[in-house]
């Protein structure tokens, strides 16, 4: 994508460095001059928002680790100590906890944008797969982070989620003991979760670097899904996109700040302000909101299928709901990328989005009727969308005509 380089240093030190480590040239080509489609809308700013959120989480997390104690007897009090005694600790802890939620808001929008505009399609399959991988790592990191305050919800989330592995035939129980470091969730579990919670964000950062690398090979997709044909279709990344992304980050910070300063606990659960107690399970355990859709899928399978027990079945569907995302580039065979030009695809897409919200709602309800039946229907649509609707729609649909170029699609609106 990058054309001839516009980096021509005249300063002798810059020249000297450029011939040894061309880091300035690389930065100029990829962070400033990178040609970006000129029709990107605000849905495209969520990539930058996510990069920003990763930095926020790592920065606040490193600071929190200075006052946090990963020990079953001390963890709960150390978090309270951060919130009450450490200078600005109340705000830093709230930023980190709310930040996890905001991170997921942004990632769901980012994934939803990719699904609508067909950003996973050839030649961006690897870019998409790396993105799904980041999402999986994010979920693991968020889950382990939630365990660290060692409240009742932390403890029982750890118990229920690690128990998922016990559904695996034969190796399930030894694997469960290996993960927990004991016969139940206890001090060893907390310590390893802290260690891994500190490690994984840096793994995420590395995969993000690959994700951006894979983005910079074919360049950005765009709202009309027509590839860039000439320099008339693009603008330089800086200042056009950098400024737009910055504005989006500022707007994103408004609800973020509202939560941090006015309602830091509203997204959490009151039971997590009771210290962990391995003898009492809270009456109604629910995961954090961002896991609810997948939790609803896990619970929807409450019946045996052939030789597969309900428990194992739930786990298979739970895992499958994320695994299926890896295969989307090959499930959707339509050559037209953007959903804007796909009349048949569009209603199914919006139903999928509605269904995702519905799953979120259902995940928070008790496992009774009518929610149990609704969960099954909702789960069926989630999988049906990927495994049946996308392949069939892409085969039978006649897409609307595409504009000849990005430039034409932008200028054509003026009626010229």
């Amino acid at each position: 994508m990058s054309g001839h380089s516009s980096y021509n240093p005249t300063n002798p030190v810059a020249k000297w460095l450029d011939s040894r480590l061309p880091i300035m040239r690389f930065s100029k080509e990829h962070l400033m001059d990178f040609p970006t489609p000129k029709n990107l809308n605000y849905w495209w700013t969520f990539g930058a928002i996510l990069a920003f959120m990763l930095v926020v989480q790592i920065a606040t997390g490193i600071v929190l680790a200075m006052s946090y104690t990963p020990d079953a007897a001390l963890a709960f009090d150390s978090v309270e100590n951060i919130r009450r005694n450490v200078n600005y600790g109340r705000i830093i802890q709230a930023t980190h906890a709310v930040g996890a939620s905001m991170f997921f808001v942004a990632v769901y929008v980012h994934i939803g944008r990719g699904l609508y505009y067909g950003s996973y399609k050839e030649p961006r399959e690897v870019l998409w797969i790396l993105g799904v991988l980041i999402f999986v790592l994010m979920m693991a990191t968020a889950f382990m982070g939630y365990v660290l305050p060692w409240g009742q919800m932390s403890f029982w989330a750890a118990t229920v989620i690690t128990n998922i592995f016990s559904a695996i035939p034969i190796i399930g129980d030894p694997l469960l003991q290996l993960l927990r470091g004991g016969f139940a969730v206890d001090n060893p579990t907390l310590k390893r979760f802290f260690s891994l919670h500190y490690l994984l964000p840096f793994v995420i950062a590395a995969v993000v670097a690959l994700h951006i690398w894979a983005l910079h090979v074919p360049g950005n997709n765009n709202p009309v899904g027509v590839e860039v044909k000439s320099s008339h279709d693009t603008v330089p990344f800086h200042p056009y996109i950098t400024m737009k992304d910055l504005l989006a980050i500022v707007l994103f910070l408004i609800p973020f700040a509202w939560f941090v300063f006015f309602a830091p606990d509203i997204l959490g659960h009151p039971d997590n302000y009771k210290p962990a107690n391995p003898l009492i399970t809270p009456a109604h355990i629910v995961p954090e909101w961002y896991f609810l859709p997948f939790y609803a899928i896990l619970r929807a399978i409450d019946f045996d299928m052939w030789f597969i027990s309900a428990k194992l079945g739930g786990v298979i569907f739970f895992g499958g709901s994320i695994l299926v995302l890896f295969f989307v580039p090959w499930l959707d065979g339509s050559k037209t990328r953007s959903g804007t030009f796909r009349p048949l695809f569009k209603p199914f897409y919006w139903l999928f989005i509605f269904n995702f919200f519905l799953l979120t709602y259902l995940g928070a309800q008790l496992a009774v009727e009518p929610y149990s039946t609704l969960s099954k229907i909702s789960t069926a649509y989630y999988f049906g969308y990927f495994l049946i609707i996308l392949p069939i729609v892409s085969r039978i649909e006649t897409p609307n005509p595409l504009p000849a170029s990005i430039s034409e699609s932008v200028l054509g609106k003026g009626g010229s």
Binding site: T159, V160, L178, G181, F183, P278, T281, I285, A310
Partner: protein, 179 residues
């Protein structure tokens, strides 16, 4: 010359594969301790047996003790509980087990089990006199609604198995050793 080259290639191939295999085995051996350290350590394993005195428990009451970080439910069952459990036909059970298989012969009033729901590991309620015992008079798991009967057998809900019985034996009529 040609045959020399072939011999040479074969020899090199062998050395190449052998070196690679050695390297892979060596790496696996080196990595194993890093993984195995995650398994329960010696101090956790050392807590693997406890002795519990039953003398202070009255009929119809339950107590919970900790064993290996897990709650152990001990219930002194009433004659009613036992009769109710024995009356259940086998075909009604999801994980069939007779009442006799759930207890020690001659000590039928004592039911000793790991108090962890076999679904996703929550602790069922039903130990305290006022708490929910479920539809079958045993235990009820609040997480996903599993009901256990007076022999700790799964009767209703998503749990696949009966409450697990720990290894235990009677040292005397009022003393048991778990583990």
């Amino acid at each position: 010359m040609a045959s020399d080259a072939t011999t040479d290639t074969t020899k090199r191939d062998f050395l190449y594969v052998a070196t690679g295999a050695m390297g892979a085995v060596g790496t696996a051996v080196a990595v194993w301790p890093l993984i195995d350290q995650m398994n329960p350590d010696a101090s956790t394993l050392a807590l693997s047996t406890i002795e519990v005195s039953l003398s202070s428990i009255v009929e119809g009451e339950s107590v919970t003790v900790m064993w290996r970080g897990q709650p152990i439910f001990i219930r002194y069952r009433t004659a009613d509980d036992i009769a109710q459990s024995k009356a259940v036909p086998m075909e009604e059970l999801k994980d069939p087990a007779s009442d006799a298989e759930r207890v020690t012969e001659g000590q039928e009033q004592w039911l000793v089990q790991i108090g962890i729901c076999t679904h996703l590991g929550c602790v069922p309620t039903g130990q305290k006199s006022g708490s929910a015992k479920g539809d079958f008079g045993g235990w009820f798991c609040p997480c996903h609604g599993s009901h256990y009967d007076t022999a700790g057998r799964i009767r209703k809900g998503p749990a696949p198995l009966n409450l697990v019985l720990p290894d235990y034996n009677f040292l005397s009529d009022t003393l048991i050793k778990i583990g």
